[in-house]
Symmetry: C2
Subunit: 175 residues, 2 copies
């Protein structure tokens, strides 16, 4: 199993990127969300070299994001479908889509997320699932968990040392 | 300017990955969110080779995610701070963090997002900023925008052909 320099980092973002830190892997997952499942369809959609596609699919299966299923016996053919772990990747793709639409679409959007009832454009925003509160620096902060190492604790301490106060007092001297 | 195979793809996710599709770039942005800004601090945090770090920082500056600022004249030293475009990358990192915590933290979390008022663990969830509705396949769908090409239209058509009905009727024959 090929792993990356991120393999031993005590950070969930590094661990995530250890699995899908390659742009092709994320685009394969994107296409799986569209409903693509067969090798030839991924290849046509991505314009990717077959050997690269083979390797990326094998890694995504190894890492638990895709499941390889036989759909034909003569000839033997397999398709690749999202696992639960793969389906849970959806917010990452939504976040990348929103960011790309906002900053790198000078000629208009190629794709938009819309409300099926109203047809209106949707801007995804993160909230706390439990409270419904928007995630903000005023209301939320990072905390070291049981698996944090020294580097992680140092990063979190730096971050929290620069936090706004929980109930910020408007300043009259704002430049 | 080094670009990738994704440069000419009419897809906001591909355009985003064209800028930050490399795991190191995303971890540099992560560290910038923690408040790191200096070359030596990034290097210590990431354990990255100086030449790779140099190249990634230069690309992130070129692409508009970081701004290079002089903080010392003797000797001349620069720091790297997030631009507005870089700060808008935050939801991608939050989504990666949540996914990594959920699936790749067998020994417990290294970092957690918590509510500063209650101390409770936060699970980020995407909602429509305008309506507050959670983003679901029942309520929301993709639509081709003005910059969509044939490949994008085909993907969206495939996706929407498999959508659940807007007001799904519970089935008694669910296996």
């Amino acid at each position: 199993m090929r792993r990356t320099a991120f393999e031993n980092m005590a950070c969930p973002i590094a661990q995530a990127l250890d699995r899908v830190g390659d742009g092709w892997s994320m685009l394969i997952l994107r296409d799986a969300f569209y409903g693509l499942s067969r090798f030839d369809d991924f290849q046509a959609s991505l314009g990717i070299a077959p050997n690269i596609l083979s390797r990326r699919l094998a890694t995504l299966v190894e890492q638990g994001m895709l499941e390889r299923r036989r759909y034909s016996s003569r000839p033997v053919r397999h398709e690749y479908v999202l696992t639960e772990c793969g389906r849970d990747f959806r917010p990452v793709l939504l976040a990348l889509m929103a960011w790309g639409n906002r900053h790198f679409s000078p000629d208009g959007h190629a794709i938009e997320l819309v409300d099926r009832h109203t047809g209106q454009l949707v801007e995804p925003m993160f909230v706390d699932r439990r409270t419904g509160e928007p995630i903000t620096r005023e209301r939320h902060q990072m905390r070291a968990g049981p698996a944090a190492d020294e580097r992680m604790r140092a990063r979190i301490a730096l971050r929290n040392s620069r936090l706004p106060s929980p109930d910020p007092i408007p300043s009259e001297s704002t430049p």
